[in-house]
Symmetry: C2
Subunit: 201 residues, 2 copies
DNA sequence: CAGTACGTTTAGTAGAAACTAAACATACTG
DNA sequence: CAGTATGTTTAGTTTCTACTAAACGTACTG
């Protein structure tokens, strides 16, 4: 804590709110397998009314420049922050993408998609391999079983893929559409609360 | 490789298929932040026509008993495998849950739910804190900005929560319903293929 | 052209997580 | 009751990842 008064000075209240929020975003990030600092940086940017410089972020988040630099670049690649260049200003400034559906889109596209395709193609290749080979008579039933299971998984992956692709299209439909869509058709239970009654942990 | 002939002996073809598949599931698991061995174990169980014992799994997956023991228990907690007890048989046997939607349900319930609630309540607490405090005049606008952003995030989390809860209810509706539901209402584009043209890797 | 302000890169480090090896617990079996 | 088969727990090791500290590159500034 040798730093001499960080950049912004909100009232004690707002400051603690910001700290809590940043810490919360850290936890979320960590939970999703992303670096803690990444979540913190996004949190700081998300709350800030105006774009922040790299050193601002160092002050807010408490990690070194290098870490902020790499994390902020990663966030930009995911479409979660935007880099802003100002004329007559050497520093770069960063701001958070406020539309969370865009964030989800970015993460899904960047992170899930690749591995998803790999998994799907692995299954398909296995399926092909089973179909192509001729098996000893006592193994034909095993081969058939493999085909069945692999086929089921392929089907599931396709469905999930469709689901993800569809969700990604919801970008401009916004929440209301989504909720209306789901709420009416799928849920037969009468209570207005879509969550099951599990309030506790 | 000092082991003396593992339990099963499929033809070289089926064996290699199985190996590939297991390796693929390992990758999937690793990608989702789960232990590699966990994915491998599930893969082995998923392909097997009948339940496997713990030592069978050791032979298939290539990790030690201890690792299989803990991982298989974890899988059971997630609802991804079932433990089967046979009369007059000391060993336990395990089989994979073949319905993948149940798997998704299990993972979502066990893993996402808790952290999800924490995040949401963090946001709510921050929101309350901002609302409760009285701020210096020059900070009221900042406070308002915090409220707006926090409110947006809260709304998003609620929506996402509803989405997840709804997906979890699809358990018995199966894929067709889901796809029909989505395909008709949401996607206006005419082509039958829900994926963008990315067939290659 | 020396000096400074920024951002990036690199080498090294610290912490976490999953695995191995082996001890342990428990229950059947002869 | 000794012996064996089975699953669990524990201590220690390995491996990976995100961070720090510091060097570096580059472009402005006086």
């Amino acid at each position: 804590m040798t730093e001499s008064e960080p950049v912004l000075t909100a009232s004690p209240d707002l400051e603690s709110v910001r700290r809590d929020f940043i810490e919360g975003m850290s936890r979320v990030a960590a939970f999703w397998g992303l670096p803690k600092a990444m979540g913190a940086i996004y949190g700081a940017l998300y709350l800030s009314p105006e774009p922040l410089s790299l050193d601002d972020l160092v002050a807010y988040v408490g990690v070194t420049k290098g870490a902020v630099s790499t994390n902020v670049r990663h966030l930009a690649r995911l479409g979660m922050v935007r880099e802003e260049v100002r004329l007559g200003e050497r520093r770069d400034f960063y701001s958070a993408e406020g539309d969370f559906w865009k964030v989800v889109k970015g993460v899904l596209r960047e992170r899930e998609k690749a591995e998803f395709d790999r998994a799907l193609s692995t299954v398909r290749q296995c399926l092909d391999a089973v179909g192509a080979a001729d098996h000893a008579p006592e193994e034909t039933s095993l081969a058939l079983h493999y085909q069945e299971r692999l086929g089921q998984m392929q089907g599931f992956f396709s469905s999930l893929d469709t689901l993800v692709a569809t969700v990604m299209r919801l970008d401009d439909l916004r929440h209301a559409s989504l909720l209306g869509l789901f709420g009416k058709r799928v849920v037969p239970a009468g209570d207005g609360n879509p969550r099951e009654g599990s309030e506790e942990r």
